[in-house]
Point group: C2
């Protein structure tokens, strides 16, 4: 009953190892989903779908009426340049299955979301990390392009970044797009920004695959609704993979998404309020990081994470003992690649009081350890 | 931009090629989902989830409260012997990814559901069909076991069968279970039966993986809710694969499933009415097959398909011309393997009038062609 080779060295992620230490008493700053609850409008939309929506299969690529609303204004063809998926994780699996062969190289951000190198390995490829450097974690397009070889199949970019909160500027994105191989631009955090909307790679080239969805912006991570935008020829094998992986995304989630996109005024107000909430939580996190951890870090431009330096040689052990001794959960930087060692990801998708308490306890713990 | 090797020869299935010919005027006997609509109770349950349910991530394996209800009475451990999936198609992808290596052989029924050999190929394995023979399509366990080699990784059994409607008896299932390699028992049609509940492979061995869900029994194919039952050690790599493929099944669908399983009396009545409806539709199909196609076939014991012989050498061309000339959709038998040539799958998941009209037109078309 030996697992297939592709899964023999794939364990549960460090993120889940830390989250497994959570108790009901934990101060959880390890979470990767927004602390948002549906408002009355979202609940009413959901109830309308529940009351009269279809429970039947949709087209593999999703209901055409939803696809039309997602691509409205982009110039993309709703018939064959979009595939609705059961979340962006499932989208990534379909893309990697469709394109990454044994021996292929995939350029992935380091620090970066753990699924990128893991999916590469699962598909028989080799993840080639490109380093992002503190303190501002700016992507150096020239350095990324230098890593391209004949075997490079995909380049993954993620802006705003999980775990860094950094945003990649338009020039750097354009330089990457012009590099030639397929690009996967994971833009799932695009609606969570603090100064200006982050640039999208949409329209930067026929080699660009853009991922997005409603999970992070609308607090519906559990409803599994994402999408892939790509050129028809690029999308075709992805759509085939998607059909064998998922058949279709949940019809309920699709119909709810359509209602959300059909209410642009409500939607704008919702997103403004989401951003206001996260702005407040970000301030709380930055204040505590500065005063309790005595670290001055550049404020994240997007997403809901600060990636903060800690004086610990081994951040995994640090995060584990912090969780067990102090009940505070943060994710060790090394969970996101070797370049993350020396840092922890603090999620500020929590009430400001929780953020303050958690970082304060962490500071106290660090000071006690250094004595 | 060449697709990965694993997807280079994977096209859209013959089933979808036929369904692509459907128009609003078509008499569609090609469909693979029940013609059921939620009743008031199901709608109320859905509205309760919509009104107050959680939209957050669930555990990768699904909410523990749901897992407990699914395994109630089975003796399985809800903690690590069940994984809730986004439908059985996603379950199959996770199982095949977790176990099928390059060079492995997978024994698959012929005729059988197209995903079994396709997923084998996608994972680099070789599908080894075991033939089921007309008129009764009985599984000959001895003949299956003779096909086992050192390279056999999985044996797939599907009872009740799509496309055959046949049910495998307990002795044959036990003989297969004792054979040794991993068994995938796809029991998604287990609630759609006509004389007696079909035997399940659950409990027949630690090598047995059982698939089921609510899609077919409760008319919720679009809600993507299935599950995998297996020994803890067998399930472990599947759960890892599932977490990278899907993260979790839809939280909405999970909470709805829990309500359904929490209402055993309503549920029994619902299933009885579903079976009564399909019994009537089955009679209509069998009557028309006998009188219009002049074929006497054994009545299906489960699912909602009749697999009927047609005097056509090439059932794919036949099904295509039938769809375009007569607007009647049936699935060519060859879509389910070479042993299906000479047959068509007629779905009776349709109103009795539609079934009668479709088969009558098909009979007329066949008689005209033979003149």
């Amino acid at each position: 009953m030996k697992p297939a080779k592709r899964y023999q060295n794939i364990g549960i992620s460090l993120i889940r190892q830390i989250n497994a230490l959570a108790t009901t008493q934990s101060v959880n700053l390890g979470i990767g989903e927004p602390n948002l609850e549906p408002d009355d409008t979202l609940r009413e939309m959901a109830m309308r779908v529940a009351a009269s929506g279809s429970w039947h299969y949709t087209a593999n690529a999703g209901n055409l009426s939803l696809r039309k609303k997602i691509v409205a204004g982009t110039g993309l063809d709703p018939k064959d340049e979009i595939c609705v998926t059961a979340g962006t994780q499932q989208a990534l699996y379909a893309i990697f299955q469709a394109y990454v062969d044994e021996g292929d190289e995939v350029l992935v951000p380091d620090p970066g979301f753990v699924a990128y190198p893991t999916l590469t390995t699962i598909c028989g490829g080799t993840p080639v990390p490109y380093a992002l450097e503190p303190p501002d974690w700016k992507l150096d397009a020239g350095a990324v392009l230098k890593k391209i070889t004949k075997r490079t199949k995909l380049i993954v970019v993620n802006s705003p970044s999980n775990p860094l909160g950094s945003v990649i500027d338009r020039d750097a994105l354009q330089a990457i797009a012009q590099a030639g191989p397929l690009i996967v631009s994971d833009e799932i955090y695009s609606q969570i920004w603090y100064q200006a909307p982050p640039p999208s790679m949409l329209g930067m080239g026929r080699n660009v695959i853009v991922l997005n969805g409603l999970s992070k912006s609308h607090g519906m991570t559990g409803l599994r609704l994402g999408w892939i935008l790509a050129d028809q020829a690029v999308l075709k094998p992805i759509l085939t993979a998607h059909s064998y992986i998922a058949t279709c995304a949940s019809a309920f989630s699709q119909q709810l998404a359509e209602m959300i996109l059909d209410a642009p005024e409500w939607n704008e107000a919702w997103l403004a309020s989401v951003r206001a909430q996260f702005r407040e939580q970000r301030e709380a996190a930055l204040y505590s990081v500065e005063h309790e951890l005595e670290a001055k870090i550049p404020p994240p431009a997007g997403a809901f994470y600060v990636f903060a330096p800690v004086p610990a040689a081994d951040t995994l052990s640090f995060a584990k003992t912090l969780a067990t001794d102090e009940g505070v959960l943060v994710i060790p930087g090394v969970a996101f690649g070797n370049a993350g060692e020396g840092f922890v990801r603090i999620s500020f998708a929590a009430a400001t009081g929780t953020i303050g308490t958690g970082i304060e306890r962490m500071g106290r713990y660090l000071r006690a350890a250094s004595r």
